[in-house]
């Protein structure tokens, strides 16, 4: 990514890198500075408007959570409720056993994330570093599976699990995560192939076996992409709804997503309490996301430009 100085007299629409302003070329003087400034202010205004639009639903969620029953059903419904009803949070949380649901979600999601990491790093290493005659064909086959819509596999997989009596357990929800996931394997493999051969050769000279090489060299060097996979996996599993919907029958096994849906079905008139619970259920995802934001963005960039 190169920087450049636009010739004087040109309106600066030079694309710039995300760098501290100190390292950028001096602003052009006079008329060009004014054009540049007004262009930036214009962009800023539009961005603020866009950000407001994107944030508004979240604010509405919080606002509805704090409204009284009357307030939320009158028109026009205010953005700021007159009296914040904080006990909507308590009422909503206890209408259904959401603490139980939360713990269930943590269990299932945790198992899935760990499984994903293990079962995707190993094959990624194989595809990136280990030679075999059928490697190319198998890799192509794996990438091809990414094009298969989930609807095709959902019925036979359900039949499989019901034949072995695993319906209404957590096994169907986290077991597949322990057997690889093409998208993640692809992502990690793209990262692994950028690691220079010299490092691997040096380690081999020191007598390191493949497992050693993988965990002492590749994994530490690939922290951004592995963190991204962990976060993608967490988010995907936490929000997973169809899985729990078709496999879980007893209420005490419900995950948070399924619990919310049940709430919606049974007590849908209690929007305020539902939104209160909703706010709490998205908090874990928000927290994980804020901590791993860097990794998320790096990983997404890698996915978009994986052209190696």
């Amino acid at each position: 990514m190169t920087l450049s100085t636009a010739p004087i007299g040109a309106t600066p629409t030079v694309p710039v890198v995300d760098e501290p302003l100190a390292r950028l070329p001096r602003h052009p003087a006079g008329k060009n500075a004014r054009i540049l400034r007004s262009q930036r202010i214009f962009a800023y205004v539009l961005l603020l408007a866009g950000a407001a639009v994107f944030i508004l639903p979240f604010l509405w969620m919080l606002s509805t959570a704090l409204k009284s029953n009357l307030e939320m059903t009158t028109y026009p419904s205010p953005l700021v409720p007159a009296v914040p009803m904080w006990d909507n949070f308590v009422k909503g949380w206890t209408i259904l056993p959401f603490t139980r649901f939360l713990l269930n979600s943590i269990l299932v999601t945790g198992l899935s994330v760990i499984g994903n990491l293990i079962s995707c790093i190993l094959p990624a290493y194989a595809f990136a570093r280990l030679k075999a005659r059928s490697r190319g064909a198998l890799f192509a086959m794996m990438v091809a599976t990414m094009a298969i819509p989930a609807e095709v596999t959902i019925v036979p997989t359900f039949i499989l699990f019901s034949k072995v009596g695993l319906v209404n357990t957590y096994w169907p929800l986290f077991l597949p995560a322990w057997f690889g996931y093409a998208y993640f394997i692809f992502l990690i493999r793209q990262f692994f192939i950028t690691i220079p051969d010299e490092l691997v050769d040096a380690a081999k000279l020191d007598g390191a076996g493949h497992m050693r090489i993988l965990f002492s060299i590749f994994v530490p060097l690939s922290r951004p992409v592995i963190a991204a996979v962990a976060v993608f996996s967490f988010v995907g599993n936490w929000n997973n709804f169809i899985g729990p919907l078709i496999y879980l029958r007893s209420q005490e096994l419900f995950t948070v997503a399924l619990g919310m849906n049940f709430f919606n079905g049974q007590y849908f008139t209690q929007y305020n309490q539902m939104m209160a619970v909703g706010v709490v259920t998205i908090l874990p995802v928000l927290i994980v996301f804020f901590f791993a934001q860097r990794a998320f963005v790096e990983g997404a960039k890698g996915a978009g430009l994986g052209g190696r």
Binding site: P76, T145, I148, V155, S162, A182, M260, V285, V297
Partner: protein, 295 residues
């Protein structure tokens, strides 16, 4: 040496290979076989030959769900790409706080789930929802959204665009890879920013746009879970909206498999869906030769 490395290769690959048989290629083949049967899981399967496919071709709900899916898919992807691309260009203008904006736009796609689906049911509520309240402030009487067959899918599209900010990051990365010398050359030739946008930015970004177009379409076909939440009142039954106006193909398959227990028909539908996706993507790839620039 090579032989033992090959054995290592397959060793490391084992988790995925088992997964491929159990959850990938295996079910694909099984699904095809099941589509030729009638199976309700309560009784053993019976052979039905092509009956499911004949039923499919004559099924008005199949066509309706197909139209709905394409309407939603193309609408949300087109609008999503436009919004994300423009926002990425704005973000690229050396403004302060890029990280903050990026987070704000990215956030909805991260928390997308049942909670936000229910939130949008409330936002789209015709009487006291956020959207119609805001429209009311500027004097417009908002439509019935999810209750109105004509406005249900547009409502869903709005929700989808809200959740499409994750692609902004990909566009940003692409924009920063556009060679500045191209802009300089265009400027020297006297091109204004509008011209520069269409003659430099868009063509240079076309591979990235195409990537997002394809992945967006594939994802939109599978986004029936939230529609189920939003239109069925949360139970395991129903779904599909007023007059089936939000019945998506994925949702129809779910209904057939897990509400009506027609496993055979559901499998046949899923293969029809696979075929449709293939055709849609094929068309996109053919069209791409016209407008996508590769270096």
């Amino acid at each position: 040496m090579a032989r033992s490395e090959e054995r290592r290769f397959f060793g490391f690959l084992t988790p995925w290979m088992i997964g491929f048989v159990l959850f990938g290629g295996g079910p694909v083949v099984a699904s095809l076989v099941i589509s030729f049967t009638n199976w309700s899981l309560l009784a053993p399967p019976t052979w039905a030959g092509l009956a499911n496919y004949q039923k499919l071709v004559a099924d008005p709900l199949f066509y309706k769900s197909l139209v709905n899916t394409l309407y939603f898919g193309l609408g949300s992807v087109a609008l999503g790409i436009t919004t994300s691309f423009l926002l990425a260009i704005l973000l690229n203008q050396r403004v302060r706080g890029v990280g903050f904006f990026r987070t704000v736009f990215y956030l909805p796609s991260v928390v997308a789930g049942v909670a936000t689906a229910v939130l949008w049911v409330n936002i789209l509520n015709p009487d006291y929802g956020l959207l119609n309240t805001l429209l009311g402030y500027v004097g417009i009487k908002g439509p019935g959204w999810l209750i109105d067959p004509n406005w249900a899918i547009p409502g869903l599209i709005l929700m989808a665009v809200w959740g499409s900010g994750n692609t902004i990051v990909i566009y940003l990365a692409g924009l920063q890879n556009v060679s500045p010398s191209l802009y300089e050359a265009a400027t020297l030739d006297g091109a204004g920013w509008w011209r520069r946008f269409w003659s430099v930015t868009v063509p240079q970004m076309s591979p990235v746009i195409f990537f997002n177009l394809v992945t967006g379409l594939i994802a939109s076909f599978q986004s029936y879970a939230l529609v189920l939440v939003m239109t069925s009142g949360g139970g395991r039954g129903g779904g599909g909206g007023p007059n089936n106006s939000t019945l998506m193909l994925g949702l129809y398959i779910y209904q057939q498999a897990f509400q009506s227990f027609n496993m055979g028909y559901a499998s046949a539908l899923s293969w029809a869906m696979f075929l449709v996706i293939g055709i849609v993507l094929g068309v996109q790839f053919m069209l791409s030769r016209r407008w996508v620039h590769y270096e």
